[in-house]
Amino acid sequence: METLILVIIGLVGAPLAGGLLAGLDRRVTAWFQSRQGPPIMQAFYDVAKLFGKEKMVVNQWQILCAWVYLVAAAASVALFFAQGDLLLVIFVQAIGAVFLVMGALSTKSPYAQVGAQRELIQVLAYEPILVLVFVGFYMVTGSFSIEAIWAQETPLLAKMPLLYLALGYALTIKLRKSPFDFSTSHHGHQELVKGVLTEYSGPYLGLIEIAHWYETILVLGLCALFWHTNVAWMALLLAATYMLEILVDNTMARMTWRWMIKRVWLLGMGMSVVNLIWLYAG
């Protein structure tokens, strides 16, 4: 029963929180750039507007893929709030990522095709990191399930600081922030139009936007697990992490996929492995 309530909180709360965060993100970014920025609720207005638009697609696969993306993102958040298995959470989330790419590939569009290829490379970069982070959780708690983390006395950050930094790479990629935003550039001036999202429009783009909110909350939820013992510290950790993401986003130029793969695999995996060696030795 308690699990069910948590799942419902997750399913309803995550998109609301994700949307708010997207609005806040724009305000903070504007503040960095000495602008005023849109209202905090702007993300919701945008999506509401998208749902009012005419339905247009290149083919029917896009409709299917947009819906499956949303369903998978919501299911992974539900599983996360049900304190399920971390590996399973990320595999369910991968369904969404894969369908988003397949929807883009189903069109003949050159922009969507390039975006889809790049999105796959992004998956290639962040997925191994996430698996290693979960192995770190396992080394500390003896289980892959989130439930086991709550039984810990001390915050996990103390035992796996490098894994948290590695997770930061995955977070940057998943949030589609510079320097790793090359599959769906969210800055208007970049050359790829909207990459993997180019051919999604109107209500279908709205679905993808909501799914993205779910995913944002999921990845931040993973970060939150590193300081589960105290809500205040957890909030502070998340706020600091997200501020850092925005700062990086605004100070870094977008890089190529080659640069990303090398950085994330060498540095990200390197840090993860070093941290895992501590845990294996300890």
Binding site: A72, A75, L87, E127, G142
Partner: protein, 632 residues
């Protein structure tokens, strides 16, 4: 009981002889269909009777069956030597001669020839018999219309199908014999029969490249056979018995025993095409597609992983076990990486097979109850999904005349049924809640206890596989013009495809019960408990049925939403506002229509096959030497 066993091993062999000598296509068709049906029933019958203790096999026509197997062994070695001589392959001749000499010495000097119960059936055997008999039969059925069209393409004057079906059916019988063997000499005999069958089938089209690749397969597997004989001798020298279940009962005891098993595993590696032996399986892609499907899913390579798994109790807890886990994980990673650089559909499938076999072998090496469960799950689900995908590629190839995934772009437009089944097949290889992913999930969770290198290799490899499978599935989707004519498929093509496709979904859904009835009893301490259709262990929980329900309902809704697409405005893709009236072009210089095209990114600079293969082979040889040396 023994009638069923005779059916499973001898019926396909008898049917093979019928196919070879009765040169009528309708008799052949009937024989293959009937054999497939009886094999399916017999394997299910064996399943319903459950496991059985090792049993004796009497004599045929007054000749002791053990003696018969020995005689056939030497006949077989003679045949293989003959082909080595005919094709002037010194490697084949050398490996075969060495095998013969060692085998003579073994049979004459070493073995006491006591009576050994020849056949046994534990849960591992039963699962393998199911895979071989049902999936193998479906592939043979599919081959009936496929080979007809194949020969029409080749324009042969005289059909070679009798020979083809002879070896296909013989293969099934030999595989059933292999997995049921309790006498290690019997196992060796059937092991060698599969070598011969694969050689004949790979070289079936008798083109220059087919012959070349078949000889490579033959020498590599002859090397495996030699390793098997050496392993068998060492194990016998220590254990003093040919009885496999007696050996398993001994457990890890003594360096000679473990070294012997190390050689048996090396034989398994060659058969399962582990790096550096992967080239024979990739070369086997020149064979007609049903052969590839058979080799990759229910026979040959599964014989390799079966041998490694069969002897797992003997090397539990030894360094050899770690070595096997490392070799398997390395194969998983390296072949997943090599797959990224490929655009040939069959090659992609081949690399993904080798990678998955590596994962299975890695699980055998990790050797915990959880890992062994993962290994059998992977064997079963990989067999279903991979046979389906090979048959799909065969169907597509006959429809569009290419096996390149770039040529399959938008296949849904012309061949919706085939494209849809292929997409489902690809998804069943990589996403939850399907069985292959369930196995992968178990493998990763099991590897966390094992070894840091293994974990890292598994994490990287599984991400790499997503890349090449996802882009293939996406490319198959496309626009179907209104009023396009429906796709027609011959019945004997459609039935195997639909059965395997349904099988992939239904078996995945029922995996908790499959686990409960087949795997939990096999492994002494069951790693999972089943509750609410979920598999729960101390490591974590996979919510199989709930996930099926949630994702299934979601998918249904998505399909319903997508089926209303006629009400949605269909637009041409965005090309920066310069679309021309013709589809797939934009308005270019001089107001002319310029066609555009797109292709997948194969990341050539990172994953080029010619560049990576020598490096991977060298590393793999080093790992195998480590594995064998560490056993001493």
């Amino acid at each position: 009981m023994s009638n069923l066993l005779v059916l499973l091993i001898l019926l396909p062999m008898a049917a093979a002889v019928v196919c070879y000598f009765v040169r009528s296509s309708s008799v052949r068709k009937l024989t293959v269909l009937a054999t497939g049906g009886i094999l399916t029933l017999a394997s299910l019958g064996l399943l319903s009777q459950g496991t059985f203790a090792p049993i004796e096999v009497g004599s045929f026509l007054g000749i002791g069956s053990d003696f018969l197997v020995t005689v056939l062994d030497f006949v077989l070695l003679g045949v293989i030597f003959f082909y080595g001589y005919k094709h002037k392959s010194l490697l084949v001749q050398g490996f075969t001669l060495a095998q013969t000499v060692l085998l003579v010495w073994f049979e004459v000097v070493m073995v006491g020839h006591e009576a050994v119960p020849a056949l046994m059936g534990d849960q591992l055997t039963l699962v393998m018999v199911l895979v071989i008999s049902i999936i193998g039969s479906l592939i043979c059925v599919f081959a009936i219309p496929y080979m007809k069209e194949h020969e029409e393409h080749l324009g042969l004057k005289k059909t070679r199908q009798p020979r083809f079906f002879f070896f296909m059916l013989l293969f099934l019988g030999a595989m059933n014999g292999l997995v049921l063997s309790n006498n290690i000499l019997w196992m060796y005999f059937f092991f060698e029969v599969t070598t011969l069958c694969s050689f004949m089938l790979i070289g079936h089209d008798a083109t220059e490249i087919a012959t070349k690749n078949s000889i490579r397969a033959l020498w590599m597997n002859a090397f495996g056979g030699l390793a098997f004989v050496v392993g068998m001798m060492l194990v016998y020298a220590h254990a003093g018995t040919l009885n496999i279940s007696a050996m398993l009962a001994l457990g890890p005891s003594g360096a000679m025993m473990v070294t012997g098993v190390a050689f048996l595993c090396l034989a398994g590696f060659t058969k399962a095409a582990q790096v550096p032996f992967q080239s024979w399986l990739l070369g086997a892609m020149v064979a007609p597609t049903p052969v590839s499907a058979l080799l990759h899913s229910s026979t040959m390579v599964k014989a390799g992983v079966f041998v490694v798994l069969r002897f797992a109790p003997i090397y539990a807890g030894t360094f050899l076990s770690t070595g096997i886990a490392l070799c398997g994980a390395f194969t998983f990673l390296s072949c997943a990486a090599l797959g990224v650089g490929q655009s040939n559909g069959k090659k992609i499938l081949a690399y993904s097979t080798v990678a998955n076999l590596g994962l299975i072998i890695c699980c055998a090496g990790i050797n915990t109850p959880l890992a062994l469960t993962a290994a059998i799950m992977l064997i079963l689900f990989h067999a279903v999904s991979k046979s389906l995908l090979f048959l799909c590629v065969g169907t597509i190839e006959q429809a569009i005349g290419s096996r390149d995934i770039e040529d399959m772009r938008g296949l849904y437009g012309e061949h919706p049924r085939t494209a849809l089944i292929t997409i489902i097949g690809i998804l069943s290889m990589m996403l939850p809640p399907f069985g292959v992913l369930l196995g992968k999930w178990m493998a990763i969770e099991a590897s966390a206890d094992s070894n840091l290198f293994v974990v890292v290799m598994l994490a990287l490899g599984s991400a790499l596989m997503v890349v090449y499978l996802a882009r293939w599935a996406g490319s198959l989707m496309g626009t179907r013009e209104p009023g396009a004519s429906p796709e027609s498929q011959p019945l004997l093509i459609r039935v195997p495809l639909m059965t395997l496709c349904l099988g992939a979904v239904v078996l995945s859904l029922t995996s908790p019960w499959f686990y409960n009835s087949m795997l939990a009893p096999w492994i002494g301490s069951a790693p999972f408990t089943v509750g609410f259709g979920s598999l729960e262990s101390a490591h974590g929980t996979f919510v199989v049925v709930p996930l099926f329900l949630v994702l299934g309902l979601g998918l249904l809704y998505a399909v319903k939403a997508a089926s209303g697409y006629r009400k949605v405005k269909i637009m041409p893709p965005y090309v920066s506002g310069v679309n021309s009236s013709a589809d797939g072009t934009y308005v270019g210089p001089m107001n002319g229509d310029v066609p555009f095209s797109t292709g997948n990114l194969y990341l050539g600079e990172l994953f080029a096959e010619p560049k990576l293969t020598p490096i991977f082979n060298a590393l793999a040889v080093a790992l195998i030497v480590l594995m064998l040396g560490g056993a001493l």
